[in-house]
């Protein structure tokens, strides 16, 4: 999908926050020099085309009594799709990426209790027959949330 200047402004603006007010889209639209109907239509397209993967409140499992953990697996190529299906079937798996490395599957667990991380990992080991390597964060240094879309970016 080709993004025009308004799409880019919407993406950049909405990475920085969204108001909690009666008519928040109208407010954001006014700030971007457009109208509410246009903003709503653009957002729908950006979500449908998967340029945006989500729009809404981003919750932190570790701040509501739960936990996040990064988990790595070494999955043989011929079992990759099967193991992907097993891992992705857990609602606690928030993201899962294939990476170029002997550890080729990396997923993030977001659970509503600390104990659930170990339960999900044990279940994945049992169903896949492969060991998992649990790497919970010990400390977090800084988070930059904005990925700026510039005009020169090659977009798909």
């Amino acid at each position: 999908m080709t993004l025009d200047s308004l799409d880019r402004q919407i993406i950049n603006q909405l990475q920085t926050g969204f108001p909690v007010s009666d008519e928040p889209y109208a407010e954001v639209a006014a700030a971007l020099g457009t109208d509410e109907a246009t903003l709503l239509a653009r957002l729908q397209i950006l979500l449908d085309e998967r340029v945006l993967t989500r729009f809404g409140p981003l919750y932190r499992a570790d701040r509501l009594g739960g936990a996040f953990s990064l988990v790595a697996m070494k999955v043989p190529e011929d079992k990759f799709d099967e193991v992907t299906e097993i891992v992705n079937s857990f609602p606690e798996v928030a993201h899962n990426y294939q990476r170029e490395h002997a550890f080729n599957m990396w997923f993030v667990l977001a659970t509503d209790s600390e104990a659930r991380v170990a339960q999900v990992n044990a279940e994945i080991e049992k169903r896949s027959g492969l060991p998992v390597h649990n790497m919970p964060k010990l400390n977090e240094y800084f988070i930059h949330l904005d990925l700026k879309v510039d005009d020169q970016d090659e977009l798909s």
Partner: protein
């Protein structure tokens, strides 16, 4: 700065939980999204707004907004850079690496010896692999002699990206 929070004031109650479940898939694309959610939950919209504000203040909500697909925005080289640095220096080094503008997330995680000697993770996003590798060089230079080993793992496929989901 340790972000782990166990302070009871940050805990959520059952209505917060219902609000999370009603909004974790996203906000409705209608003129008055909060009024619609409040109606679904059968609570006053003022209470919903107040609780959303409070969850933003306490950090239960990191922010309200969009999550872009890096690839679709032209960031085709997304690398997890991993570093083996001395444990006693890691917080100081992590703060420096995390502050770089091309690093989106930076974490201290446990090593898994003997297979995995790395304890510092920094995600870098770039338009090309060359650009990403230049970022890796910049981190290596900054770490200097504290960098005992490093690697970069490029993502080749997003297998899932839904974000946190609480079970209803």
């Amino acid at each position: 700065m340790n972000m782990q929070m166990t302070d009871p004031e940050h805990r959520i109650d059952s209505l917060d939980r219902r609000i999370i479940i009603a909004t974790q898939d996203g906000l409705p694309l209608v003129s008055r999204p909060y009024a619609l959610i409040a109606e679904q939950l059968d609570i006053p919209v003022a209470e919903l707004k107040q609780r959303l504000q409070r969850m933003q203040e306490t950090g239960v909500i990191r922010r309200i907004g969009v999550v872009p697909n890096h690839y679709a925005l032209g960031y085709r080289a997304n690398g997890m850079t991993v570093w083996d640095v001395p444990d006693e220096r890691i917080d100081e080094l992590g703060e420096q690496i995390g502050a770089l503008d091309f690093v989106s997330h930076c974490y201290h995680r446990p090593r898994k010896l003997p297979d995995w000697p790395y304890n510092l993770f920094a995600m870098v996003h770039a338009h090309t692999r060359d650009e990403a590798l230049a970022h890796v060089e910049q981190i290596a230079k900054l770490l200097g002699a504290h960098n005992r080993a490093h690697d970069v793992l490029f993502s080749t496929r997003i297998l899932k990206k839904t974000g946190m989901r609480l079970n209803p």
